[in-house]
């Protein structure tokens, strides 16, 4: 009898210790809001997942960026879906490095902007549309670039050079009513846009540049 009591006590203790504390934490989720697209490229490509239900893993090959590519600009649109049951923020961290040669492709030569915030699904909050795109990222770099009169080089309202180890690019209120776990497909989405204008860059191949998007709890943001 005592052995049975001990066993029950141990089992109870096991569950008590092995179970996470019952804290009512917030939920944040992100993924693809459609397949990424690329235009104006020569030999470029994009790959990624189109669904919110899988992790966002996108590979972008911008292709040829010398004057061999006679297109006006290479543009990549990456649709990103977000869900949250409380105020959120979306941060981007940049890793990798550009070439040491100032005439090679630099971070400032890759335009980066956020556009087209939109709701999806029946349980998206209305207030999600009040989300704020952080300055200076609220632009489409493929249409807002200018040419520096002194150097002839393209310059963007915002570029990868504006990103650091964790730069908040977007924040807002609760995005989803009745979050409902991974099977629920309601929330808000936006387009992350990359743009590069072909130029007389120093020849070479660059890679190893990675943008990591992270959604997490953001500052208080009322859903009204």
């Amino acid at each position: 009898m005592n052995r049975l009591r001990t066993l029950i006590a141990l089992v109870s203790l096991f569950f008590a210790v092995g179970t996470p504390p019952p804290v009512l934490a917030a939920n944040f989720d992100m993924g693809g809001a459609g397949l990424p697209t690329i235009s104006g490229s020569v030999g470029g490509s994009v790959s990624g997942s189109s669904t919110l239900l899988s992790n966002l893993v996108v590979t972008v090959d911008l292709g040829e960026l010398s004057p061999v590519n006679s297109n006006q600009i290479v543009k990549v649109v990456i649709p990103i879906a977000m869900r949250s049951d409380s105020p959120y923020q979306m941060a981007v961290s940049l890793t990798g490095s550009a070439g040491g040669d100032p005439a090679a492709v630099q971070f400032s030569d890759i335009g980066f902007g956020i556009q087209n915030l939109r709701a999806f699904g029946s349980k998206a909050t209305t207030c999600g549309g009040n989300s704020i795109i952080a300055s200076p990222f609220n632009n489409d770099p493929s249409s807002t670039f200018t040419i520096n009169g002194a150097t002839g080089r393209a310059q963007y309202s915002s570029s990868l050079a504006n990103l650091g180890t964790s730069t908040v690019v977007l924040n807002g209120p609760q995005l989803t009513n009745a979050f409902g776990g991974a099977g629920s497909s309601s929330g808000w989405a936006f387009d992350a846009i990359l743009a590069v204008k072909p130029q007389y860059y120093t020849p070479g191949v660059f890679s190893g540049i990675t943008l990591t998007f992270t959604i997490s709890a953001g500052p208080a943001f009322s859903c009204t």
């Binding site: 109870s12 934490a25 292709g63 010398s66 004057p67 061999v68 492709v105 150097t151 990675t210 943008l211």
Partner: protein, 245 residues
């Protein structure tokens, strides 16, 4: 025993509820995704018009499909220089055509020139007709535009091609034939195969091709000294080719 089983069942039930509650409360407090970026920049060079060509001391003749700086040399049209009259009825010392070129590239370059075999459109050609050696050629300057995406660098005109073909040091009248003879490298007779006329390092820094018209402007000169050539018309074509190196 029954009481014990009952207590055990209640305890297990509470444990189950506890565990179930814990599972519901489990949250995803953040989520991440990644975008990897890569790209390629290839070597690129181009030769275009460096401005409008000009023709001086001509009698008749002219330039058709003339270009402006940055135009392609042979599309959609090909520029044609008609020297006009080059018989003694043209009393000028030389009929001279100046053709500016604009070079661009993100790598070092070599510019070559070649002349196609002479063709004759009328009359019966003979050794006294205008031939390739009777058409002077030279590169008088190679100047990088200032600012606006142009890199600094030193360009080298091939010694044999350097200079104005009409200059006294680049040709003379043959004492035995009376025909004007250009020095080696200063007539199209020396360019029947593609021959280097200019070399240099990278011309352009990172800049948008359409950002301005700057580049390396190369001035080439063609000339014909009017003489008692056999009557008839003649033509050739000159091809400029830029490559790396």
């Amino acid at each position: 025993m029954r009481a014990l089983i009952g207590r055990s069942a209640r305890l297990l039930f509470l444990t189950f509820v506890f565990v179930t509650t814990g599972a519901v409360a489990e949250a995803q407090t953040s989520d991440s995704g990644s975008v990897s970026i890569q790209g390629t920049v290839s070597g690129y060079v181009e030769v275009r018009a460096g401005g409008a060509a000009t023709l001086t001391n001509n009698s008749g003749g002219g330039i058709t499909n003339n270009k402006i700086k940055g135009d392609k040399l042979n599309t959609p049209t090909t520029m044609t220089i008609d020297f006009g009259e080059v018989g003694p009825s043209n009393s000028a010392s030389f009929v001279t055509a100046t053709v500016p070129l604009r070079l661009r590239g993100n790598v070092s370059y070599t510019l070559k020139a070649s002349a196609a075999a002479m063709t004759y459109g009328s009359g019966t050609p003979d050794t006294s007709s205008v031939t390739l050696p009777d058409i002077g050629f030279g590169v008088t300057s190679a100047t990088r535009d200032s600012g606006g995406g142009v890199a600094s660098g030193t360009d080298t005109i091939a010694a044999s091609a350097s200079g104005d073909p009409t200059a006294g040091g680049n040709g003379s009248i043959s004492g035995t034939t009376g025909r004007y003879v250009y020095n080696t490298g200063h007539s199209l007779g020396d360019y029947t195969t593609s021959t280097t006329i200019l070399t240099g390092p990278r011309i352009m820094n990172a800049m948008v091709p359409s950002g301005n018209t700057n580049g390396l402007v190369v001035t080439t000169v063609f000339s014909v000294k009017p003489q008692f050539f056999t009557p008839g018309s003649f033509s050739t074509s000159v091809t400029f080719t830029i490559s790396n190196p």
